[in-house]
């Protein structure tokens, strides 16, 4: 009994997605790739894609460095500042988004790529901190102490022991930070300026009035593909045993 229910729920969850993917390959019933062609030919899509990519890479890069360092400091010194990092994770996105907008507005900070990037990093730093902290917590201090007793100083210990052991956690956090930036809509749209558009914004602008179009389906399919790839990488990294 419960099995049927569960089956229905999963159908409910995945039927729409399957439908979108399927429709992007169909034109009046016959198989076609022309919607994908249209997507790749659309200059706006190409530009939004590269914008999203650069934004995600940059935000991941900075947030991982800041967040990992903070997580390491927390694990080693047990200073109780971690609640500072929890708040951004709990606060609803729209509240963060509007606060950044007001902030930029007050400072007359130009809205565009950088205003979006700075906002993304703030949010991602908190996530990276939480994830890396959880991973690092599993490792006992004694491993670093062992390195010290074997003749390695603090820096050598960090490079030869701590960093390699934290690497899976750092990679996992990077994938999550990348996805959060890549998929982000609300924060981006609140803090962006004219001329800077990301893929989610593009999809939104075309779908907002309830418009479902085949080329939009194709774009959605491509993005789904990217998301699934990232998820797959994450699962590979987080279940890897040293």
């Amino acid at each position: 009994m419960i099995r049927i229910f569960v089956l229905m729920v999963f159908l409910f969850l995945y039927a729409p997605i399957a439908f979108v993917i399927a429709s992007s390959f169909l034109d009046n019933g016959s198989f076609t790739l022309k919607w994908f062609e249209k997507v790749f030919e659309d200059y706006k899509v190409i530009r939004a894609f590269s914008n999203s990519l650069i934004l995600a890479i940059a935000s991941t890069f900075f947030s991982v460095i800041l967040g990992t360092a903070a997580a390491y400091a927390y694990i080693r010194t047990k200073m109780s500042f971690e609640s500072l990092f929890y708040t951004p994770v709990v606060i609803p996105e729209i509240a963060e988004a509007l606060s950044l907008l007001l902030f930029y507005n007050l400072l007359s900070f130009p809205l565009g790529f950088y205003s979006v990037l700075l906002g993304h990093i703030a949010f991602n730093v908190a996530f990276v901190f939480v994830i890396v902290k959880a991973r690092l917590a599993g490792y006992e201090r004694s491993i670093e102490e062992a390195s010290l007793t074997l003749g390695a100083n603090e820096i050598q210990t960090f490079l030869r022991v701590t960093l390699p052991m934290a690497m899976p956690g750092i990679i996992a956090a990077s994938l999550i930070a990348f996805t959060l930036s890549w998929d982000n809509f609300i924060k981006t749209v609140f803090t962006t300026g004219p001329g800077f558009q990301t893929l989610p914004m593009l999809i939104w602008s075309q779908a907002v009035r309830g418009v479902v179009s085949p080329s939009l389906n194709a774009l959605a399919t491509l993005m789904l593909l990217i998301s699934i790839t990232l998820a797959y990488l994450y699962i590979r990294v987080s279940t890897k045993r040293e």
Partner: protein, 247 residues
């Protein structure tokens, strides 16, 4: 070693906490001081929006709970061979942006002609938020050792009774976490009501309008502060009862 954390902390103070402080300032009428925006926002038109948002979020939460609990239960305690696979299927939506998922459900609702109704919004909300409810419940059910259930059987309790007395109570932390993970973001949800509901107004859509269309920083801030006060109140209640937030 502790200074490793300083860059991140400073960054958060500048780009997260400071902006919030500015929101508070604006809600009180910055650069002047005025409480009128709060009073404005308590007026019936705005209040209705608040109420509608709470109703929508509540319905979403309840429906998510009713649907998610059996699924979480099945994966944690019943599915043997499929467990990992089903887990992956539950986690996967987290990696697909809310926007895409909403678009997907829209592509089904649209040909069915169900767009722009309250039902559409609810369906969209449940569709988007369901995984958030399943995972925490799954996590807390997972922790229950099978031996407890077996012990309960040997002591004479029927499966249903065992569920009520043993399993369900121990899943409460997960349920509460799931409720929080759904209700709070659902309150401020913008994408679903605006894409599927057309003119349906929530805290999310009104914040959007006030900020991005009317540039009304003051009323927008006031509404946001009220919204966040509700959230913190709910969280405070949760913290008192549960102790810590599990992420």
């Amino acid at each position: 070693m502790r200074y490793f954390a300083y860059p991140a902390i400073v960054y958060l103070i500048i780009f997260f906490y400071l902006p919030f402080f500015i929101v508070v300032l604006y809600s009180f009428g910055f650069p002047n001081f005025d409480l009128k925006y709060y009073f404005d926002v308590m007026k019936p038109i705005y209040f209705k929006v608040l109420l509608d948002s709470v109703i929508l979020a509540s319905i979403t939460t309840v429906l998510c709970f009713l649907i998610a609990y059996p699924v979480a239960y099945y994966i944690a305690l019943r599915a043997k061979r499929w467990k990992n696979f089903l887990l992956v299927l539950i986690i996967l939506p987290f990696w697909i942006s809310l926007l895409l998922r909403t678009y997907a459900i829209m592509s089904i609702l649209s040909p069915l002609g169900l767009m722009f109704t309250f039902a559409a919004v609810v369906i969209g909300m449940v569709y988007d938020y369901l995984p958030f409810m399943v995972l925490p419940i799954y996590a807390s059910l997972e922790k229950i050792k099978r031996a407890q259930i077996e012990a309960s059987f040997t002591l004479g309790a029927s499966p249903w009774r065992t569920f009520i007395k043993i399993t369900f109570p121990q899943s409460m932390p997960g349920v509460v976490a799931g409720v929080i993970l759904v209700f709070i973001p659902a309150l401020g949800e913008f994408v679903v009501p605006s894409m599927l509901g057309g003119t349906y107004t929530t805290i999310g859509t009104i914040t959007w309008d006030l900020f991005l269309r009317y540039h009304d920083w003051w009323r927008g801030s006031a509404i946001s502060i009220i919204y966040m006060t509700i959230i913190f109140a709910a969280l405070a209640v949760y913290m008192k009862k549960a102790g810590r937030i599990e992420i």
